[in-house]
């Protein structure tokens, strides 16, 4: 069983993000990059499967700021191999579609049974990465996964659906999963272990050159959400408030 976990670096949201001079991206020069928390859940799920069965775990990530830290931490936690994909501008914003194609092009040369990645990321709130990967590789895909169970050559996954429902389905391996949550909170890798990993293990680098350029959406303007008017507080008796609400809804043409 070979599990590949695809991880991403993101601007740390505790920093005050600023828009760059062009107004087309965040200013990447002065922000700290951290790993995507859902990818951490995907890694944890992979490592839990490894703990249960004799799986090997490969983590793969695009060359992005501070990605080495994330990869070494994954090795310290128990991943067997870490791969960094180069061939793009490491300081630029890589859109999800291009990211998926780069990872898929790496996976094309790999024997794998399962690909896990975070269900979403701050720059991929729609959670497209797992889906695009699945379709590019032409293998089954499931999103918002909250539980994984291996049953021989197939996989039983629990997915969080709307309205508090959980759906369980079976997939043929190999498959791609967008992980919402692992069975347990991501484990801790002590700094000593991470430093040990840095000394004893190597990050493999693989250059990926995409033959066909990925069609991309051009960002015309990136801006912080504009402040809307504040809320209006309705006061008075329940009846007055109800009348007021009806008036508002009518005046907006909603009823």
């Amino acid at each position: 069983m070979h599990i590949v976990v695809a991880m991403r670096q993101l601007a740390d949201l505790v920093e005050e993000l600023e828009v760059n001079g062009d107004g087309t991206d965040i200013d990447r020069d002065f922000v700290k990059f951290v790993s995507n928390e859902w990818d951490e859940a995907a890694l944890e799920e992979a490592l839990t499967i490894k703990d249960e069965s004799a799986a090997s775990v490969t983590v793969v990530a695009l060359d992005e700021p501070d990605v080495d830290q994330t990869l070494y931490a994954a090795l310290a936690k128990g991943a067997d191999r870490a791969v960094k994909l180069t061939g793009h501008d490491p300081s630029a914003w890589v859109r999800t579609r291009e990211r998926a194609q780069r990872i898929a092009s790496f996976l094309a040369h790999e024997e794998f049974d399962l690909v896990l990645t975070g269900v979403q990321a701050a720059d991929d709130l729609d959670g497209q990465l797992a889906g695009i990967l699945g379709s590019t590789l032409d293998i089954p895909h499931a999103a918002v996964v909250v539980g994984v169970e291996l049953t021989g050559s197939s996989l039983r996954v629990a997915q969080e659906l709307g309205g508090g429902l959980v759906g369980v389905s079976e997939l043929e391996l190999p498959a791609v999963l967008g992980v919402q949550a692992a069975r347990q909170a991501p484990r801790y890798a002590s700094i000593t272990r991470i430093r040990q990993a840095m000394q004893t293990q190597k990050i493999e680098e693989q250059e990926v050159s995409l033959e066909v350029t990925t069609p991309q959406v051009t960002v015309r303007r990136l801006y912080p959400p504009e402040k809307q008017g504040g809320a209006t507080m309705l006061t008075g008796s329940a009846k007055d408030v109800a009348t007021e609400i009806v008036n508002i809804l009518r005046s907006k043409g909603l009823v």
Binding site: E15, E16, I191, T192
Partner: protein
């Protein structure tokens, strides 16, 4: 006329056969005793030796007395001889022990002198010269009896007092109920039996010894010179008064002598295999104890992240385990145990000792706990951290050092707990909240998980700029710590301190976004790698700045900067802000108003117990015209707020009563209106605790600088 020689016959009533039996028994006993002693010494000697190991660390002139200075051997001998560490917190028990201690040393000397005369001198002289010489006669004999009867009396009084305490006292420290209760159940009945065997055995040896002395004198028809043997003489008279004549006395003496000798020999054999070993281990441990170990934590073992098995224990730690007398003082003062957490420093030591003795193949008589299943101290193959000692026990420690402070035999519990925690950290076995705090510290440099650029946000709102120590020389570099920088309530206090210093023309600056968590609590959590990383980052920041001295807001940061950073190259003096405030007052720079408040003061563990700064904050409080009422637990006996050692990042909801609540209840019994603190974590903990207790309108938690500001800055009255 026959001259009377004042002496007595050794082996007066015994036959030659009896003498041989005695010597054979004595030889067997000495073999058992020395085998035990040597096995224990071999075990100590085989303990894990760190590269810089020494039984007595070289004293460093830069060490601070009582903080990081190792006591000299002569001073330790005084400590041992006076039983000072036993007396200091429990006078009656300590004095009783002192009586027993010196009484038995006297009796041991008496027996040794007798043996020297009879066995050594007597035999040697007979072999060499053909005549048997003896100095056990005449004035020496009289003085010997007079002096050593006194020793006997001391021992008797001390032993009776201690035995009665063991029999009748209901004190909590004598209760062996575990703080961490294993699901399988456990029994400590053997430990209780061991205590009784020990003290009652001593008492029986003493009583039979005194009785045979009396019987002998009675049997010899009270020679007048035996009045020098005053205690025996009196006891003999007592027997005579009861109608025991000389013949009867000799008959009883004959068999009681065997009882006495049998008990005494059995006791000697029993020493290295039981709690009696503390008679030798505890003084040795006191002589090699090193105060610096708690303030400046030792390195992890070379091949592991932390302690996993008894092989990781150092010679001194092994000796420390053996020194424990189960006096239970640590058990009583421990804030974790008091709050209902599953940690008792006593139980921790006992568990480790039982396991260590078992692993080293040393049978420990009585002093062991039994369990129906092999868990805890009976889990011989388990990892020390997490299995022998469960994780929740180790995580409960606040590292407040109350146990180390009160331990009469100098056991250093805290470094041991941290070594065990290091293994848990390595395994990732920790509270999720702690994990996220550590991750925040690793990525952002602070436990709040805020951007490091927000660290100096508290300076907004000041009407003067704070100097950047990286661009301009300052006298004092102010190291705020995370709480004083990021906690909303404490940012106000930081501004007040800045205002006070600015108003008094103190040259100070900060590191802005480059200050990192100092790592005191990170190290005590057991995350050594992260601690080293933080030290590196802070040392880099210090290198960029220009300053003469450092002062901190946080006593925890103060401790690590003062005691641990020098090993990483920090060579500047480190002060706490309460010392700076005291200096301002006593150099006459400020003339404070008279606040006329009734206050109490809480000694932060890392300022008081750890760093012995008791006077500076008290001097400030008095100089401000406040009436300081001390809480029962103050100074070295201060009670922890519960936040130290990383506890502030862990879940407290499992406790029956948080230590901070316990502390506020203690303060609420005093007639005071203010609870003064000198530590940001204390402010946070106690502000919550007064609300929990529901007395926030009666007892107000204030920081010492708030009082200072109110008394000295008339134009900027602070709302307290």
């Amino acid at each position: 006329m026959l001259a009377i020689i004042e002496t007595r016959k050794i082996f007066a009533g015994e036959t030659e056969v009896a003498k041989i039996v005695f010597y054979v028994l004595a030889l067997i006993v000495l073999v058992i005793f020395f085998v035990g002693v040597i096995r224990r010494l071999v075990v100590y000697n085989r303990g894990r030796r760190a590269p810089n190991f020494a039984w007595l660390r070289r004293r460093d002139p830069r060490d601070v007395p009582e903080v990081s200075e190792r006591p000299t051997v002569p001073s330790s001998l005084v400590t041992i001889a006076t039983n000072q560490t036993i007396i200091k917190t429990k006078h009656k028990v300590g004095v009783s022990h002192w009586l027993l201690f010196w009484g038995f040393i006297g009796l041991f000397l008496a027996t040794s002198i007798l043996s020297l005369d009879y066995d050594v001198l007597g035999n040697a002289s007979r072999i060499i010269t053909g005549h048997t010489y003896s100095f056990f006669q005449g004035p020496f004999y009289l003085a010997y009896n007079a002096v050593f009867d006194f020793a006997g009396l001391l021992a008797l009084v001390g032993t009776v007092l201690l035995a009665s305490r063991r029999w009748f006292s209901k004190e909590p420290q004598l209760d062996y109920t575990r703080a961490q209760k294993p699901e399988s159940g456990y029994s400590r009945a053997r430990i209780v039996i061991g205590d009784h065997v020990f003290v009652s055995g001593l008492l029986l040896i003493l009583v039979t010894g005194l009785l045979i002395q009396g019987l002998r004198i009675d049997g010899e028809h009270f020679p007048s010179f035996e009045q020098w043997t005053w205690l025996g003489y009196l006891i003999g008279k007592g027997f005579a008064g009861l109608g025991v004549g000389a013949a009867a006395a000799r008959a009883v003496h004959a068999w009681l002598w065997w009882v006495h000798v049998g008990l005494a020999l059995a006791f000697v054999a029993y020493i290295p295999w039981s709690k009696a070993w503390h008679m030798l281990a505890s003084p040795a441990n006191l002589a090699v104890r090193d105060f610096s170990n708690v303030r400046r934590l030792p390195q992890p073992p070379a091949d592991n992240a932390g302690y996993r098995s008894v092989d990781d224990l150092t010679p001194k730690e092994l000796l420390g385990l053996d020194s424990c007398t189960k006096c239970g003082r640590c058990h009583v003062v421990c804030p974790a145990r008091t709050g209902g957490a599953p940690l008792s420093p006593r139980d921790l030591i006992l568990d480790l000792r039982q396991l260590a003795d078992h692993k080293h193949g040393i049978p420990l008589l009585f002093d062991t706990e039994t369990r129906p299943s092999p868990t805890g101290p009976m889990n011989e193959d388990g990892c020390l951290a997490g299995e022998v000692v469960v994780g929740e026990t180790l995580w409960s420690c606040t590292t407040c050092m109350a146990c180390v402070e009160i331990c009469p035999v100098g056991i250093e519990h805290v470094p041991l707990i941290v070594q065990l925690r290091r293994t848990l950290v390595d395994q990732g076995a920790m509270d999720p909240t702690l994990q996220s705090a550590l991750q925040n510290i690793a990525t952002q440099g602070n436990s709040f998980g805020k951007s490091s650029r927000m660290r100096a946000r508290w300076t907004k709102g000041l009407d003067f700029p704070i100097v950047d120590a990286r661009t301009q020389h300052v006298e004092y570099l102010w190291f705020l710590g995370d709480f004083a920088s990021f906690d909303e309530r404490l940012m106000d206090i930081s501004r007040t301190l800045a205002t006070v210093l600015h108003a008094n023309g103190i040259s100070f600056g900060i590191l802005f976004e480059e200050e990192r968590n100092a790592g005191n609590d990170v190290r005590r959590v057991g995350e050594e790698g992260l601690f080293e990383m933080l030290v590196e980052q802070n040392m880099n920041a210090f290198a960029k700045a220009s300053f003469d001295k450092i002062f901190t807001t946080d006593p925890h940061s103060f401790n690590t900067l003062r005691n641990e950073y020098p090993a990483f190259g920090l060579d500047r003096p480190v002060l706490h802000y309460s010392e700076l405030l005291a200096k301002l007052l006593f150099t006459g720079k400020v003339a404070p108003g008279n606040l006329m408040r009734k206050v109490t003061y809480h000694d932060p563990c890392y300022l008081g117990r750890y760093n012995r700064i008791f006077e500076a904050p008290r001097a400030v409080i008095s100089a401000l015209g406040c009436d300081l009422v001390e809480m029962p637990r103050h100074g070295v006996n201060s009670f922890c707020c519960g936040a130290g050692g990383g506890r502030i990042w862990m879940d407290d909801s499992v406790l029956d009563e948080r230590p901070s609540v316990n502390r506020i209840k203690e303060a609420s019994t005093l007639d005071v209106d203010y609870f003064v603190v000198a530590c940001p974590k204390d402010y946070a903990m106690f502000s919550d605790a007064v609300k929990t207790v529901g007395i926030e309108d009666k007892l107000k938690v204030v920081d010492i600088v708030e009082l200072f500001a109110e008394a000295t800055l008339s134009s900027a009255l602070v709302d307290v």
